[in-house]
């Protein structure tokens, strides 16, 4: 082996010089420049489309930093630990407001919004303001508003003579009829990183909750919560296999490819499912309706992206200017045309309404949902709670654990988290 004569030192030298040359092009940050931290979503694509116009108007250069959705909060927390101003404008999820606020990462953007005549804060409904608020401070303004609604296949409903369900009982009976006819009945994801969201919304639709907001006692064993979970688990057999171990994107993929009668999912997916190019098989066969409810409850979870300003940014004024430009009254139509799902703000005129009816025909459904929607629990333990509930529900859906043992485990796991943080006694 040692006798190999190596004559390709040149390769090494070449590689080295490539490295040297490319490392020299390190660019310094110009004074008139902001960094916008976004994830992969239709609303961030629209935000990106607003960049050049803003630069042309103000001379401020806009750089976009894109990270995967699952990494958004981690990256923001990590960056904020270093107290650096690498990110000026930041996109984040409402469920992470607590974590980001506790770590002191966010500027109180609500103050800027309220003072801006261009942004017209009065047209943002109160539920949406509350959605970005933690401990009395408004840390994010809506970039998109995406409550869970019912999606169904018009053609399959017509073929099987199904009615749009008002209650979850009707949804379940529709699902059964679809399954009996050889179709999939439902695409609610049960994956280990997703189950808690939509099933959590169902629990609230039934009038249940994860835990009591004042005593922090878990309430998965309440009559309402148990009934909701039971119903969700009874739907597993009508669900495509990939959706049993997948998340929201996998459910959308199943809707695109397989014959699935109905699903509960966020409105924001319309940009994919309503698009002829991306969803050639179903784009014209889908309809949207209010999410089913039970027991007289109208409550559901509100989702959607928030956007705000990094506490440690040294470009806060420019950062706000960009948000004002992109989300303010002047460019409402440009922003929608760039593919952004609507934010649920009250609109200005008939031309905007017409445009909205075209790009987001579900606006009426969305407005109803917004009125009854609450943000995910605002406690610092929420990410850990969502993780154990995701996994607990996933274990139940994949029959790792029986229904009763699953309910007991959910209660015990969430209780353990509150015991650890001192909110409950062991």
């Amino acid at each position: 082996m040692l006798n190999i004569n190596f004559s390709k030192r040149k390769v090494f030298v070449t590689l080295l010089s490539v490295a040297m040359v490319s490392s020299m092009s390190v660019s310094a940050r110009a004074a008139q420049e902001i960094n916008v931290f976004v994830t992969v979503s239709p609303s961030s694509d629209a935000l990106k489309a607003m960049g050049p116009g803003f630069t042309a108007k103000t001379g401020i250069k806009v750089n976009f930093i894109t990270v995967p959705t699952g990494d958004v909060v981690t990256k923001l927390l990590l960056a904020c630990q270093t107290k650096s101003s690498t990110n000026d404008v930041v996109q984040f999820d409402s469920q992470h407001v607590t974590a980001l606020a506790s770590a002191g990462c966010l500027d109180e953007v609500g103050l800027r919004a309220a003072a801006s005549s261009e942004y017209q804060d009065s047209r943002i409904p109160n539920q949406l303001k509350a959605y970005g608020t933690y401990n009395g401070k408004r840390l994010g303004i809506p970039l998109s508003t995406e409550p869970y609604i019912l999606w169904y296949r018009k053609d399959l409903y017509a073929k099987l003579g199904l009615k749009v369900p008002k209650t979850w009982t009707e949804y379940a009976s529709n699902a059964k009829k679809c399954a009996d006819a050889g179709y999939f009945g439902s695409a609610v994801p049960y994956g280990p990183a997703a189950a808690a969201y939509r099933i959590g919304a169902m629990i609230h639709n039934y009038g249940g909750a994860f835990f009591d907001k004042t005593t922090f006692q878990p309430t998965f064993d309440s009559v309402q919560s148990k009934a909701a979970i039971k119903m969700a688990m009874d739907l597993v057999y009508t669900t495509p296999a990939s959706v049993i171990s997948g998340g929201g994107a996998v459910a959308v993929q199943a809707m695109q490819e397989l014959d699935v009668c109905q699903m509960l999912n966020a409105t924001g997916w319309y940009s994919i499912l309503g698009d002829a190019k991306q969803s050639p098989k179903v784009y014209d066969k889908l309809a949207l309706a209010d999410a089913p409810h039970m027991n007289g409850s109208k409550e559901t979870f509100l989702f959607g992206w928030l956007i705000g300003i990094n506490q440690y940014s040294d470009q806060k004024t420019n950062a706000w200017q960009f948000l004002e430009y992109s989300l303010g009254k002047t460019n409402v139509e440009a922003f929608l045309k760039a593919g952004a799902p609507p934010t649920g703000r009250v609109l200005f005129g008939s031309s905007q309404k017409d445009l909205l009816a075209k790009v987001a025909p579900y606006t009426a459904v969305m407005d109803t949902a917004n009125k009854n929607a609450i943000p995910l629990y605002r406690v610092p333990e929420i990410t850990e709670i969502m993780d154990v509930v995701n996994r607990g529900l996933n274990a139940m859906a994949t029959k790792q654990i029986t229904f009763d043992a699953g309910i007991a485990k959910l209660n015990a796991d969430v209780k353990a988290i509150f015991v650890k943080s001192g909110k409950l006694k062991g």
């Binding site: 927390l77 296999a241 171990s245 850990e384 993780d387 996994r391 996933n394 859906a397």
Partner: protein, 295 residues
């Protein structure tokens, strides 16, 4: 003359200034990237430090160990780590031995097959894991399609047994080349006379392999088992992209448990307690390693 030479050689071995110069870059790297974080990590494990709290950190004693290490969750993750390690190495040794024996025959085309078999070891694990996750999609994936030819329809990610099977298969797939190549080298280095005389003495195929060849390969197999067990025990990428620990917690291994505590719950101190426990668990392997690497 002889004593002179010995003196020269002694002088040669003694150049300690040069030794410091030679070992310094490596030592500095190890101190800053290994020793410093290990000590810091141990310190964190005794505090309540967290990414999402701006409150000052304080000592909490062994509370993190109590809540994170001496729990069923940790035990379960340890079991997953050990199962992955045991089964991936066992199957690699079995398949690797047969493949290495065939390759060692030096038939026509062996060199080509060596190149192909080498591939998984060189390809990006996270990319491979993602492609496998597409292929394993139970509704539209390629694996569902391939199964249909033999009348099967298994959803690998939906039960704990098959999900573990999928993880172990990927680990097997990715590191089979290492086992094959090392075993092949070992087989080629065996003294041919012994094998030939054994077969002349009338030993059948089984006797030849079990009684003669495998015992002679024992040191090579020991090296494989040690190196592979360390790697399989710390597997992360595949679980991260393929199952994210599911279904339920069925494929959460120890590194994934530590990762979740640190980067999903943002709890540095609890993650550190898990990390310290992991170091304690690998200690026996550490001592075997030290024994093997006498310099």
């Amino acid at each position: 003359m002889v004593t002179n030479e010995i003196r020269t050689v002694r002088r040669y071995s003694r150049s300690s200034g040069l030794a410091v110069l030679f070992s310094l870059p490596g030592l500095l790297l190890l101190i800053s990237v290994v020793l410093a974080p290990l000590i810091t990590g141990f310190y964190y494990s005794l505090t309540n430090s967290s990414l999402i709290s701006s409150a000052p950190t304080k000592f909490v004693g062994l509370a993190n160990y109590k809540s994170e290490v001496f729990t069923a969750k940790f035990g379960e993750a340890l079991r997953v780590s050990l199962l992955i390690t045991f089964f991936s190495i066992l199957t690699q040794l079995l398949a690797g031995y047969v493949i290495a024996k065939v390759l060692a025959r030096s038939m026509k085309g062996t060199s080509f097959f060596v190149s192909v078999i080498m591939l998984p070891m060189l390809l990006t694990p996270v990319a491979i894991g993602m492609m496998w996750s597409l292929m394993l999609n139970p509704d539209i994936g390629a694996i569902k399609w391939l199964q249909s030819f033999v009348g099967l329809d298994i959803n690998f990610l939906s039960s704990s047994g098959t999900a573990m099977g999928a993880i172990i298969f990927l680990e097997w797939w990715g590191h089979l080349p290492f086992v094959v190549l090392v075993l092949m080298a070992g087989i080629l280095n065996l003294p041919k006379e012994i094998i030939e005389s054994a077969s002349i003495d009338g030993a059948n195929w089984w006797q030849l392999n079990l009684r003669v060849i495998i015992p002679m390969l024992a040191p090579v197999i020991a090296v494989i088992v040690i190196i592979r067990s360390v790697n399989a025990f710390r597997m992360f990428d595949t679980i991260f992209v393929l199952t994210s620990g599911g279904p339920g917690n069925a494929t959460v291994n120890l590194p994934f448990l530590a990762y979740k505590a640190a980067f999903t719950y943002f709890d540095t101190s609890r993650a550190s307690a898990i990390s310290v426990a992991i170091v304690a668990i690998v200690m026996p392997v550490y001592f075997i390693f030290l024994k093997m690497t006498k310099v």
